[in-house]
């Protein structure tokens, strides 16, 4: 057993084995420990080497109240903030929750309604969602379950922010965000993983279940320091005629792996998955998408864009499975990537398994460099080379950023992508 697992096992305090949640946590940890840390020999992990980042023992993140500043785009917004996995009433603005939105924190549920928490984590504990979802379920202490009432349509977004404090020792945490959107409800959700410096590992799980006719727009931002490893797991399950849109923006982290799984098991269910990553320095960013079209008339559309600079490395693996009898489905996938340096690398791989015959499936992948003509055009106007490169990279990313419907987040992304050097200000 690796030092990483052994140290977590020593820190493991699942609670009474006789309680449903205690039993579930034990089962989840066993699932993870039996599976172990994936190696490059695992097909799903062949481009992402965890042996270095998950070699050292990790302590559980210390409880903390103070934290680095919240990202600018959550200013004034309804928000739940967790610091090192623990809910922070001081940083949260829970009084301003949108109408129709109820939040339940795991530690509350564990005492108030212990029988309800375990079923929420069942999928993760089985290992079906991968080893790190099981690990996350085992250690999830103070996650959040968001319930949106039927027909509720709050007009402002809900932010859930998972912050980490600076830590001297490598620290582990297990952020959890579970959402249930009632029928014909509509929710905009912004999930952020960010915080101060220090080595750390996060095993984060997001599950969004949509009842019939519901719409959820989910923005997920990973903006962690270079010493952080982020292992994210996103699960989307839209009901009949429900639409789940999920953006994954990874703009920071030494290693980030985001697994997204959408199960389209009801007719008319749709997912739109967009992603953008920036791998600079020695960052490694891996998106693994799996979409199961398990019912007819389901739709999926993916656009993932990657930018790798310096010695950055990007991976995109997009699997689409069309099950037998899932006729009249439409699945599209685009993976477009930009290499900004000779040492950067991007691997992109579509995987299509189609067992139905009346379907529309399209996929395309590109890996390119900045266009010389465009670069010369800007430089000939007097734009310095580094600024011109940032502008063109931004232009490349724009397809994914432009539709972001939370203005403060969009402005933050634009500034982040173009770099402070440019000093972009909206001219209009």
């Amino acid at each position: 057993m690796s030092e990483f697992i052994a140290a977590l096992e020593r820190a493991f305090a699942p609670g009474a084995a006789s309680s449903p949640i205690g039993a579930l946590r034990r089962r989840a940890f066993e699932t993870f420990a039996a599976r172990g840390v994936p190696s490059l020999r695992d097909e799903d992990w062949k481009y992402t080497d965890l042996s270095r980042v998950l070699a050292a023992p990790c302590a559980l993140s210390p409880a903390a109240t103070a934290s680095s500043a919240l990202p600018a785009y959550v200013d004034g917004a309804a928000r739940l903030v967790f610091v090192n996995g623990v809910y922070s009433a001081a940083l949260s603005a829970a009084a301003a929750l949108p109408a129709g939105v109820t939040v339940h924190r795991f530690d509350e549920l564990a005492t108030r309604a212990p029988d309800t928490l375990a079923p929420l984590l069942e999928r993760q504990a089985t290992g079906r969602a991968g080893p790190f979802a099981a690990l996350s379920a085992a250690f999830a202490a103070d996650g959040v379950y968001v319930d949106v009432a039927a027909d509720a349509a709050p007009d402002s977004p809900l932010h859930v922010v998972f912050l980490r404090t600076d830590t001297a020792e490598p620290a582990f945490s297990a952020p959890q965000l579970l959402v249930s959107a009632g029928h014909h409800s509509r929710l905009t959700l912004v999930e952020t993983h960010a915080g101060g410096a220090g080595s750390r590992v996060s095993a984060a799980v997001t599950e969004i279940r949509l009842a019939d006719g519901a719409t959820v727009d989910h923005y997920r931002i990973v903006d962690e320091p270079a010493a952080a490893s982020h292992l994210g797991n996103v699960y989307l399950q839209p009901g009949r005629d429900a639409i789940a849109t999920s953006w994954s923006f990874v703009v920071g982290a030494g290693l980030a792996r985001v697994d997204l799984h959408a199960e389209l098991a009801a007719p008319g269910a749709a997912v739109v998955l967009n992603g953008l990553f920036l791998a600079t320095g020695k960052a490694h960013v891996d998106h693994h998408v799996r979409i199961d079209h398990a019912a007819p008339h389901t739709t999926s559309a993916q656009v993932y864009k990657g930018i790798a600079n310096d010695r950055g490395r990007g991976v995109f693996n997009g699997k689409i499975v069309v099950h037998p009898d899932a006729q009249k489905i439409s699945a599209t996938q685009a993976s477009n990537n930009l290499l900004l340096s000779d040492d950067a690398e991007i691997d992109t791989k579509p995987e299509l398994e189609i067992y139905a015959d009346d379907v529309v499936c399209q996929h395309g992948a590109t890996i390119g460099r900045l266009d010389d003509d465009s670069l010369f055009y800007l430089r000939a106007r007097g734009v310095p080379r580094d600024v011109a490169e940032a502008m063109l990279s931004y232009g490349f990313a724009d397809e994914v950023v432009a539709p972001v419907a939370v203005p403060a987040l969009k402005a933050w992304l634009e500034a982040r992508l173009t770099g402070a050097a440019i000093g972009r200000e909206d001219a209009a």
Partner: protein, 249 residues
Amino acid sequence: MLKIENLHVEVAGKPVLRGIDLTVAPGEVHAIMGPNGSGKSTLAHVIAGREGYEVTQGSVKFNGKELLALEPEARAAEGVFLAFQYPVEIPGVNNVYMLKAALNGIRKYRGLPELGAAEFLGFIKAKAKAVGLKDSLLNRPVNQGFSGGEKKRNEIFQMSVLEPLLAILDETDSGLDIDALKAVAEGVNLMRSPGRSFVVVTHYQRLLDYIVPDYVHVLAQGRIVKSGPRELALELEARGYDWLVEAAA
């Protein structure tokens, strides 16, 4: 202002310019004419600093400074502007934003403070009006979805914002109808001043009806084979290029 001496340029090992000498004094307008493939656009691009050209001999001095040693953005900051024959479309980057980055890049190079957003916006709106560029195009991505005429007008607009000392117009007339051509020429003429020079690269005489040059040079097979006053352009219009090309061969 501009002094080109014995400029030899190769592209992929093939000589394209074979000994160009050209001197442009402040306030002058020089037209460079010549058949397709004569090296006109190469000359324009080499002055502006495009990569992919190998200068094997010669020098290009701008106000005494060797341009060939400078990056393209430094040449722009020294006061050189190239209006492109085919302006590039840049998705996701709006015109105003690009110009602000350009102007502030140039100002920084010259040791001037950067312009603030409000100040800049007022400045470019006035310029857009002067060259007849629609306000709605200002905040569109650079050249994206612009008509041919709008793209060329945008080049002239950018030139008017950047206020270069030397503007090189590379076949700015190509693809324009007569109204668009007149409008573009008018924008250029508004900018003529005793301190500003123009090098107008064109295949056709008609642009020179509206931007009247002080000198006309004919480029053929990488050399200037004839130079003369404005009337030379009219002669070329009447006689074509063949007589000069044959004489040069």
